[in-house]
Protein backbone atom coordinates (compact mmCIF):
# COMPACT_ATOMS: atom_id res chain seq x y z
CA UNK A 1 0.00 0.00 0.00
CA UNK A 2 1.28 3.49 -0.77
CA UNK A 3 1.75 6.08 1.94
CA UNK A 4 -1.15 8.13 0.65
CA UNK A 5 -3.27 4.99 0.45
CA UNK A 6 -2.41 4.19 4.02
CA UNK A 7 -3.30 7.64 5.20
CA UNK A 8 -6.61 7.62 3.38
CA UNK A 9 -7.43 4.32 5.05
CA UNK A 10 -6.39 5.61 8.44
CA UNK A 11 -8.34 8.79 7.87
CA UNK A 12 -11.54 6.85 7.44
CA UNK A 13 -11.10 4.89 10.60
CA UNK A 14 -9.49 7.10 13.17
CA UNK A 15 -12.65 9.06 13.96
CA UNK A 16 -11.78 11.91 16.29
CA UNK A 17 -8.11 11.06 16.56
CA UNK A 18 -6.55 14.39 15.54
CA UNK A 19 -3.64 14.73 13.21
CA UNK A 20 -1.12 15.37 15.94
CA UNK A 21 -2.28 12.41 17.96
CA UNK A 22 -2.20 10.13 14.94
CA UNK A 23 1.31 11.27 14.02
CA UNK A 24 2.53 10.64 17.55
CA UNK A 25 1.00 7.19 17.67
CA UNK A 26 2.33 6.22 14.24
CA UNK A 27 5.78 7.41 15.21
CA UNK A 28 5.64 5.36 18.41
CA UNK A 29 4.52 2.29 16.49
CA UNK A 30 7.26 2.48 13.85
CA UNK A 31 9.52 5.26 12.54
CA UNK A 32 8.84 4.21 8.93
CA UNK A 33 5.54 5.86 8.05
CA UNK A 34 4.26 3.16 5.72
CA UNK A 35 5.09 0.32 8.10
CA UNK A 36 3.57 2.36 10.92
CA UNK A 37 0.31 2.56 8.95
CA UNK A 38 0.25 -1.20 8.54
CA UNK A 39 0.98 -1.71 12.23
CA UNK A 40 -1.80 0.69 13.12
CA UNK A 41 -4.27 -1.24 11.00
CA UNK A 42 -3.09 -4.54 12.47
CA UNK A 43 -3.43 -3.23 16.03
CA UNK A 44 -6.90 -1.89 15.28
CA UNK A 45 -7.96 -5.24 13.83
CA UNK A 46 -6.58 -7.06 16.84
CA UNK A 47 -8.52 -4.71 19.14
CA UNK A 48 -11.72 -5.32 17.18
CA UNK A 49 -11.17 -9.06 17.56
CA UNK A 50 -10.59 -8.61 21.29
CA UNK A 51 -13.77 -6.61 21.84
CA UNK A 52 -15.72 -8.95 19.59
CA UNK A 53 -14.53 -12.12 21.26
CA UNK A 54 -15.27 -10.51 24.62
CA UNK A 55 -18.87 -9.95 23.46
CA UNK A 56 -18.74 -6.14 23.44
CA UNK A 57 -21.13 -4.24 21.26
CA UNK A 58 -19.73 -1.68 18.79
CA UNK A 59 -16.27 -3.28 18.74
CA UNK A 60 -15.11 -0.86 16.02
CA UNK A 61 -15.94 2.17 18.14
CA UNK A 62 -14.26 0.68 21.17
CA UNK A 63 -11.15 -0.09 19.12
CA UNK A 64 -11.02 3.51 17.90
CA UNK A 65 -11.58 4.77 21.41
CA UNK A 66 -8.69 2.63 22.64
CA UNK A 67 -6.41 3.99 19.93
CA UNK A 68 -7.47 7.57 20.75
CA UNK A 69 -6.62 7.11 24.39
CA UNK A 70 -3.35 5.43 23.51
CA UNK A 71 -2.44 8.30 21.18
CA UNK A 72 -3.26 10.81 23.89
CA UNK A 73 -0.94 9.04 26.31
CA UNK A 74 1.83 9.01 23.73
CA UNK A 75 1.32 12.72 23.09
CA UNK A 76 1.43 13.49 26.79
CA UNK A 77 4.86 11.88 26.90
CA UNK A 78 3.86 8.86 29.02
CA UNK A 79 6.63 6.31 28.98
CA UNK A 80 5.18 3.18 27.36
CA UNK A 81 7.65 0.31 27.15
CA UNK A 82 5.19 -2.05 25.45
CA UNK A 83 2.47 -0.47 23.30
CA UNK A 84 0.56 -3.72 22.85
CA UNK A 85 0.35 -4.35 26.57
CA UNK A 86 -0.62 -0.75 27.21
CA UNK A 87 -3.31 -0.91 24.54
CA UNK A 88 -4.63 -4.07 26.12
CA UNK A 89 -4.82 -2.31 29.50
CA UNK A 90 -6.84 0.53 27.99
CA UNK A 91 -9.09 -1.96 26.23
CA UNK A 92 -9.70 -3.83 29.48
CA UNK A 93 -10.69 -0.56 31.17
CA UNK A 94 -13.05 0.22 28.33
CA UNK A 95 -14.63 -3.20 28.64
CA UNK A 96 -15.29 -2.54 32.30
CA UNK A 97 -16.79 0.85 31.45
CA UNK A 98 -18.91 -0.70 28.77
CA UNK A 99 -20.42 -3.26 31.10
CA UNK A 100 -19.35 -6.00 28.76
CA UNK A 101 -20.91 -9.22 27.63
CA UNK A 102 -24.16 -7.73 26.47
CA UNK A 103 -25.71 -9.88 23.91
CA UNK A 104 -28.94 -9.68 22.01
CA UNK A 105 -29.68 -12.73 19.96
CA UNK A 106 -32.90 -11.23 18.66
CA UNK A 107 -31.19 -8.23 17.10
CA UNK A 108 -28.75 -10.57 15.38
CA UNK A 109 -31.59 -12.45 13.72
CA UNK A 110 -33.21 -9.23 12.57
CA UNK A 111 -29.95 -7.86 11.22
CA UNK A 112 -29.23 -11.02 9.30
CA UNK A 113 -32.53 -10.63 7.54
CA UNK A 114 -31.65 -7.09 6.50
CA UNK A 115 -31.38 -6.57 2.73
CA UNK A 116 -27.86 -5.17 2.79
CA UNK A 117 -26.60 -8.33 4.39
CA UNK A 118 -28.12 -10.42 1.62
CA UNK A 119 -26.41 -8.35 -1.03
CA UNK A 120 -23.11 -8.75 0.75
CA UNK A 121 -23.50 -12.52 0.66
CA UNK A 122 -24.19 -12.60 -3.03
CA UNK A 123 -21.21 -10.33 -3.63
CA UNK A 124 -19.05 -12.63 -1.51
CA UNK A 125 -19.90 -15.55 -3.71
CA UNK A 126 -18.93 -13.74 -6.89
CA UNK A 127 -15.85 -12.26 -5.26
CA UNK A 128 -14.83 -15.71 -4.04
CA UNK A 129 -14.97 -17.13 -7.57
CA UNK A 130 -12.82 -14.28 -8.86
CA UNK A 131 -10.32 -14.50 -6.01
CA UNK A 132 -9.95 -18.27 -6.36
CA UNK A 133 -9.39 -17.88 -10.09
CA UNK A 134 -6.74 -15.22 -9.43
CA UNK A 135 -4.69 -17.48 -7.16
CA UNK A 136 -1.52 -19.00 -8.61
CA UNK A 137 -2.17 -22.57 -9.75
CA UNK A 138 -0.19 -24.27 -6.98
CA UNK A 139 -1.88 -22.27 -4.21
CA UNK A 140 -5.30 -22.81 -5.69
CA UNK A 141 -4.66 -26.52 -5.95
CA UNK A 142 -3.52 -26.69 -2.35
CA UNK A 143 -6.54 -24.89 -0.90
CA UNK A 144 -8.99 -26.90 -3.03
CA UNK A 145 -7.42 -30.21 -2.10
CA UNK A 146 -7.17 -29.16 1.56
CA UNK A 147 -10.93 -28.92 1.86
CA UNK A 148 -11.66 -31.99 -0.22
CA UNK A 149 -9.04 -34.66 0.47
CA UNK A 150 -7.85 -36.54 3.51
CA UNK A 151 -5.41 -34.14 5.13
CA UNK A 152 -2.89 -36.70 6.38
CA UNK A 153 -2.66 -38.22 2.89
CA UNK A 154 -2.43 -34.79 1.32
CA UNK A 155 0.37 -33.76 3.68
CA UNK A 156 2.25 -36.93 2.72
CA UNK A 157 1.71 -36.15 -0.96
CA UNK A 158 3.22 -32.70 -0.45
CA UNK A 159 6.01 -34.13 1.70
CA UNK A 160 5.18 -31.93 4.68
CA UNK A 161 3.64 -32.40 8.12
CA UNK A 162 -0.10 -32.04 8.67
CA UNK A 163 0.59 -28.97 10.76
CA UNK A 164 2.65 -27.36 8.00
CA UNK A 165 -0.14 -28.16 5.55
CA UNK A 166 -2.66 -26.55 7.86
CA UNK A 167 -0.52 -23.42 8.18
CA UNK A 168 -0.15 -23.14 4.41
CA UNK A 169 -3.85 -23.66 3.79
CA UNK A 170 -4.83 -21.14 6.43
CA UNK A 171 -2.45 -18.54 4.98
CA UNK A 172 -4.04 -19.00 1.55
CA UNK A 173 -7.45 -18.76 3.20
CA UNK A 174 -6.41 -15.48 4.82
CA UNK A 175 -5.19 -14.25 1.43
CA UNK A 176 -8.58 -15.15 -0.04
CA UNK A 177 -10.39 -13.40 2.79
CA UNK A 178 -8.47 -10.20 2.12
CA UNK A 179 -9.11 -10.49 -1.61
CA UNK A 180 -12.84 -11.12 -1.15
CA UNK A 181 -13.16 -8.27 1.34
CA UNK A 182 -11.31 -5.89 -0.99
CA UNK A 183 -13.40 -6.82 -4.02
CA UNK A 184 -16.64 -6.64 -2.08
CA UNK A 185 -15.76 -3.25 -0.61
CA UNK A 186 -14.70 -1.94 -4.02
CA UNK A 187 -17.89 -3.03 -5.76
Amino acid sequence: MTESGNEASLGRKRNDLDRQGLDALLQALEPDRELAGLKYEELRRRLINLFTWEQCEAADDLADDTLNRLARKVMEGTVIPNLDRYAFGIARLLMQEEGRRKRNRQSLVLEVQDGTERSANWDSLDAMDQCLAALPQDRRELIERYYVEDRAALARAFGISVNALRNRAMRIREELLKCVTRRRDDS
Partner: protein
Protein backbone atom coordinates in the same frame (compact mmCIF):
# COMPACT_ATOMS: atom_id res chain seq x y z
CA UNK B 1 2.03 -24.43 25.24
CA UNK B 2 -1.54 -23.51 24.40
CA UNK B 3 -3.32 -26.26 22.51
CA UNK B 4 -6.20 -26.02 20.07
CA UNK B 5 -8.78 -27.12 22.64
CA UNK B 6 -7.77 -24.23 24.90
CA UNK B 7 -8.23 -21.81 22.04
CA UNK B 8 -11.65 -23.22 21.20
CA UNK B 9 -12.56 -22.99 24.90
CA UNK B 10 -11.56 -19.32 24.85
CA UNK B 11 -13.46 -18.50 21.68
CA UNK B 12 -16.59 -20.30 22.82
CA UNK B 13 -16.46 -18.97 26.38
CA UNK B 14 -15.93 -22.37 27.93
CA UNK B 15 -12.89 -21.24 29.93
CA UNK B 16 -13.02 -20.12 33.58
CA UNK B 17 -13.08 -16.32 33.89
CA UNK B 18 -9.69 -15.90 35.57
CA UNK B 19 -7.97 -18.06 32.95
CA UNK B 20 -9.83 -16.24 30.23
CA UNK B 21 -8.56 -12.80 31.27
CA UNK B 22 -4.97 -14.05 31.43
CA UNK B 23 -5.29 -15.81 28.10
CA UNK B 24 -6.71 -12.69 26.43
CA UNK B 25 -3.73 -10.63 27.53
CA UNK B 26 -1.39 -13.34 26.35
CA UNK B 27 -2.74 -13.67 22.83
CA UNK B 28 -3.02 -9.90 22.51
CA UNK B 29 0.70 -9.46 23.15
CA UNK B 30 2.04 -12.63 21.47
CA UNK B 31 1.78 -12.42 17.66
CA UNK B 32 2.26 -16.16 17.13
CA UNK B 33 -0.50 -17.06 19.55
CA UNK B 34 -2.79 -14.47 17.99
CA UNK B 35 -2.17 -15.98 14.57
CA UNK B 36 -2.96 -19.47 15.86
CA UNK B 37 -6.10 -18.19 17.54
CA UNK B 38 -7.28 -16.63 14.29
CA UNK B 39 -6.59 -19.91 12.49
CA UNK B 40 -8.59 -21.80 15.09
CA UNK B 41 -11.49 -19.41 14.69
CA UNK B 42 -11.31 -19.76 10.89
CA UNK B 43 -11.40 -23.55 11.19
CA UNK B 44 -14.35 -23.41 13.57
CA UNK B 45 -16.29 -21.24 11.13
CA UNK B 46 -15.28 -23.49 8.22
CA UNK B 47 -16.45 -26.55 10.12
CA UNK B 48 -19.67 -24.76 11.02
CA UNK B 49 -20.30 -23.81 7.38
CA UNK B 50 -19.61 -27.42 6.35
CA UNK B 51 -21.92 -28.95 8.96
CA UNK B 52 -19.02 -30.58 10.77
CA UNK B 53 -19.72 -29.32 14.27
CA UNK B 54 -22.07 -30.78 16.83
CA UNK B 55 -25.39 -29.13 17.51
CA UNK B 56 -24.13 -27.93 20.88
CA UNK B 57 -20.96 -26.47 19.43
CA UNK B 58 -22.90 -24.78 16.69
CA UNK B 59 -25.10 -23.13 19.29
CA UNK B 60 -22.00 -21.82 21.08
CA UNK B 61 -20.57 -20.54 17.81
CA UNK B 62 -23.79 -18.68 17.07
CA UNK B 63 -23.90 -17.32 20.59
CA UNK B 64 -20.31 -16.19 20.90
CA UNK B 65 -18.85 -15.84 17.43
CA UNK B 66 -21.65 -14.43 15.31
CA UNK B 67 -22.85 -11.53 17.39
CA UNK B 68 -21.61 -8.66 15.23
CA UNK B 69 -21.41 -7.57 11.62
CA UNK B 70 -17.63 -7.98 11.80
CA UNK B 71 -18.04 -11.63 12.82
CA UNK B 72 -20.88 -12.35 10.43
CA UNK B 73 -18.66 -11.26 7.57
CA UNK B 74 -16.22 -13.97 8.62
CA UNK B 75 -19.04 -16.52 8.60
CA UNK B 76 -20.26 -15.20 5.28
CA UNK B 77 -16.76 -15.80 3.91
CA UNK B 78 -16.67 -19.35 5.32
CA UNK B 79 -20.06 -20.07 3.69
CA UNK B 80 -18.89 -18.66 0.35
CA UNK B 81 -15.70 -20.75 0.59
CA UNK B 82 -17.79 -23.82 1.33
CA UNK B 83 -19.92 -23.07 -1.69
CA UNK B 84 -16.84 -22.65 -3.92
CA UNK B 85 -14.97 -25.64 -2.50
CA UNK B 86 -17.52 -28.00 -0.95
CA UNK B 87 -16.42 -30.92 1.20
CA UNK B 88 -16.91 -34.31 -0.44
CA UNK B 89 -19.66 -36.68 0.59
CA UNK B 90 -18.48 -39.56 2.67
CA UNK B 91 -19.43 -42.87 1.12
CA UNK B 92 -18.38 -46.45 1.63
CA UNK B 93 -16.79 -48.10 -1.41
CA UNK B 94 -18.18 -51.63 -1.88
CA UNK B 95 -15.72 -54.52 -2.24
CA UNK B 96 -16.92 -55.32 -5.74
CA UNK B 97 -16.14 -51.80 -6.88
CA UNK B 98 -12.57 -52.22 -5.67
CA UNK B 99 -12.34 -55.57 -7.46
CA UNK B 100 -13.79 -54.07 -10.61
CA UNK B 101 -11.32 -51.21 -10.49
CA UNK B 102 -8.48 -53.71 -10.15
CA UNK B 103 -9.80 -55.69 -13.11
CA UNK B 104 -10.19 -52.57 -15.19
CA UNK B 105 -6.66 -51.54 -14.31
CA UNK B 106 -5.36 -54.92 -15.42
CA UNK B 107 -7.15 -54.71 -18.77
CA UNK B 108 -5.40 -51.53 -19.66
CA UNK B 109 -5.23 -47.83 -19.06
CA UNK B 110 -6.96 -46.87 -22.29
CA UNK B 111 -10.00 -49.02 -21.57
CA UNK B 112 -10.12 -47.67 -18.05
CA UNK B 113 -10.06 -44.14 -19.36
CA UNK B 114 -12.97 -44.94 -21.63
CA UNK B 115 -15.03 -46.35 -18.79
CA UNK B 116 -14.07 -43.53 -16.51
CA UNK B 117 -15.06 -41.02 -19.12
CA UNK B 118 -18.47 -42.65 -19.44
CA UNK B 119 -18.86 -42.76 -15.67
CA UNK B 120 -18.05 -39.05 -15.43
CA UNK B 121 -20.54 -38.28 -18.16
CA UNK B 122 -23.19 -40.22 -16.28
CA UNK B 123 -22.26 -38.44 -13.06
CA UNK B 124 -22.48 -35.03 -14.70
CA UNK B 125 -25.86 -35.96 -16.11
CA UNK B 126 -27.04 -37.15 -12.72
CA UNK B 127 -26.30 -33.84 -11.01
CA UNK B 128 -28.39 -31.85 -13.40
CA UNK B 129 -31.53 -30.73 -11.60
CA UNK B 130 -34.37 -33.19 -11.98
CA UNK B 131 -37.50 -31.31 -13.00
CA UNK B 132 -41.12 -32.26 -13.46
CA UNK B 133 -44.57 -30.73 -13.52
CA UNK B 134 -46.19 -32.13 -10.38
CA UNK B 135 -49.57 -30.42 -10.45
CA UNK B 136 -51.41 -27.81 -12.38
CA UNK B 137 -49.27 -24.69 -12.23
CA UNK B 138 -46.56 -26.27 -10.05
CA UNK B 139 -43.14 -27.19 -11.38
CA UNK B 140 -40.78 -29.13 -9.12
CA UNK B 141 -37.01 -29.10 -9.39
CA UNK B 142 -34.58 -31.05 -7.20
CA UNK B 143 -31.08 -29.69 -6.83
CA UNK B 144 -28.58 -32.10 -5.28
CA UNK B 145 -25.93 -30.81 -2.94
CA UNK B 146 -23.13 -31.88 -5.32
CA UNK B 147 -24.02 -28.94 -7.50
CA UNK B 148 -23.30 -26.37 -4.80
CA UNK B 149 -20.00 -25.59 -6.43
CA UNK B 150 -21.25 -25.66 -9.96
CA UNK B 151 -21.78 -22.68 -12.14
CA UNK B 152 -25.37 -21.57 -12.52
CA UNK B 153 -25.35 -22.72 -16.13
CA UNK B 154 -25.18 -26.33 -14.96
CA UNK B 155 -28.42 -25.86 -13.03
CA UNK B 156 -30.53 -24.60 -15.85
CA UNK B 157 -34.28 -24.49 -15.21
CA UNK B 158 -36.62 -23.91 -18.11
CA UNK B 159 -39.99 -22.88 -16.72
CA UNK B 160 -42.87 -24.10 -18.89
CA UNK B 161 -45.66 -21.68 -19.73
CA UNK B 162 -48.48 -21.45 -17.20
CA UNK B 163 -46.37 -22.31 -14.17
CA UNK B 164 -47.31 -20.33 -11.09
CA UNK B 165 -45.16 -21.98 -8.44
CA UNK B 166 -41.63 -23.35 -8.59
CA UNK B 167 -41.04 -25.95 -5.93
CA UNK B 168 -37.34 -26.29 -5.21
CA UNK B 169 -36.10 -29.33 -3.34
CA UNK B 170 -32.65 -28.46 -2.10
CA UNK B 171 -30.53 -31.29 -0.84
CA UNK B 172 -28.51 -30.12 2.15
CA UNK B 173 -24.76 -30.69 2.33
CA UNK B 174 -23.80 -33.78 4.36
CA UNK B 175 -24.46 -33.19 8.05
CA UNK B 176 -26.27 -30.05 7.10
CA UNK B 177 -29.57 -30.50 8.92
CA UNK B 178 -29.22 -27.97 11.70
CA UNK B 179 -32.71 -27.19 12.88
CA UNK B 180 -34.58 -24.12 11.78
CA UNK B 181 -33.91 -22.78 8.29
CA UNK B 182 -34.91 -19.83 6.18
CA UNK B 183 -34.38 -19.31 2.45
CA UNK B 184 -33.69 -16.16 0.45
CA UNK B 185 -33.92 -15.90 -3.32
CA UNK B 186 -31.33 -13.58 -4.84
CA UNK B 187 -31.47 -12.14 -8.34
CA UNK B 188 -28.16 -10.47 -9.02
CA UNK B 189 -27.46 -8.50 -5.87
CA UNK B 190 -31.13 -8.13 -4.90
CA UNK B 191 -33.02 -10.23 -2.43
CA UNK B 192 -36.36 -10.73 -4.15
CA UNK B 193 -38.15 -13.22 -1.95
CA UNK B 194 -37.76 -15.19 1.23
CA UNK B 195 -39.41 -17.99 3.15
CA UNK B 196 -39.07 -19.29 6.67
CA UNK B 197 -38.74 -20.50 9.23
CA UNK B 198 -39.02 -24.14 8.18
CA UNK B 199 -37.47 -27.51 8.98
CA UNK B 200 -35.80 -29.73 6.38
CA UNK B 201 -37.14 -33.24 5.97
CA UNK B 202 -35.17 -36.48 5.94
CA UNK B 203 -35.15 -38.53 2.76
CA UNK B 204 -33.10 -41.64 3.20
CA UNK B 205 -29.63 -40.52 4.21
CA UNK B 206 -30.12 -36.99 2.92
CA UNK B 207 -31.95 -33.96 4.27
CA UNK B 208 -33.96 -31.85 1.89
CA UNK B 209 -35.24 -28.30 2.26
CA UNK B 210 -38.36 -27.71 0.19
CA UNK B 211 -39.30 -24.16 -0.72
CA UNK B 212 -42.15 -22.82 -2.82
CA UNK B 213 -41.36 -19.78 -4.94
CA UNK B 214 -43.97 -17.75 -6.82
CA UNK B 215 -43.00 -18.10 -10.49
CA UNK B 216 -43.96 -14.57 -11.50
CA UNK B 217 -41.63 -12.76 -13.89
CA UNK B 218 -40.96 -10.14 -11.20
CA UNK B 219 -39.53 -12.77 -8.86
CA UNK B 220 -38.23 -15.47 -11.17
CA UNK B 221 -37.27 -13.56 -14.28
CA UNK B 222 -34.86 -15.01 -16.82
CA UNK B 223 -31.22 -15.01 -15.70
CA UNK B 224 -29.03 -16.14 -12.86
CA UNK B 225 -30.48 -16.66 -9.42
CA UNK B 226 -29.29 -18.10 -6.15
CA UNK B 227 -31.06 -19.40 -3.10
CA UNK B 228 -29.27 -18.84 0.14
CA UNK B 229 -30.21 -21.16 2.97
CA UNK B 230 -29.70 -19.78 6.45
CA UNK B 231 -29.52 -22.13 9.39
CA UNK B 232 -30.40 -20.42 12.66
CA UNK B 233 -29.64 -17.03 11.22
CA UNK B 234 -26.34 -17.69 9.48
CA UNK B 235 -25.68 -18.63 5.83
CA UNK B 236 -25.18 -22.36 5.39
CA UNK B 237 -25.41 -23.01 1.62
CA UNK B 238 -25.99 -21.35 -1.72
CA UNK B 239 -27.74 -22.98 -4.70
CA UNK B 240 -27.20 -21.21 -7.99
CA UNK B 241 -29.31 -21.75 -11.07
CA UNK B 242 -30.38 -20.07 -14.27
CA UNK B 243 -34.01 -19.51 -15.18
CA UNK B 244 -35.21 -19.43 -18.75
CA UNK B 245 -38.76 -19.32 -20.02
Amino acid sequence: MVNRDDMIAYLLHQMPETERAAFAERWFTEPDLYERLQMTEAELLDDCARGKVSRGQRRLIEQYLLGSEFQRRKMDFAAALQSAIPSPRTSRVPWWAVAAAALVASIGVSLWLGIENRRLQTEVASIQPAAQRVADGVYAVAIPSQTLRSAAAENSIRLPAGIQILRLELELPPGGDRGVYSATLLAGSRAVWNEGPFYPESRGTASVATIWIPASAAILGPGEHAVRLDASGSPSAYYRFTISR
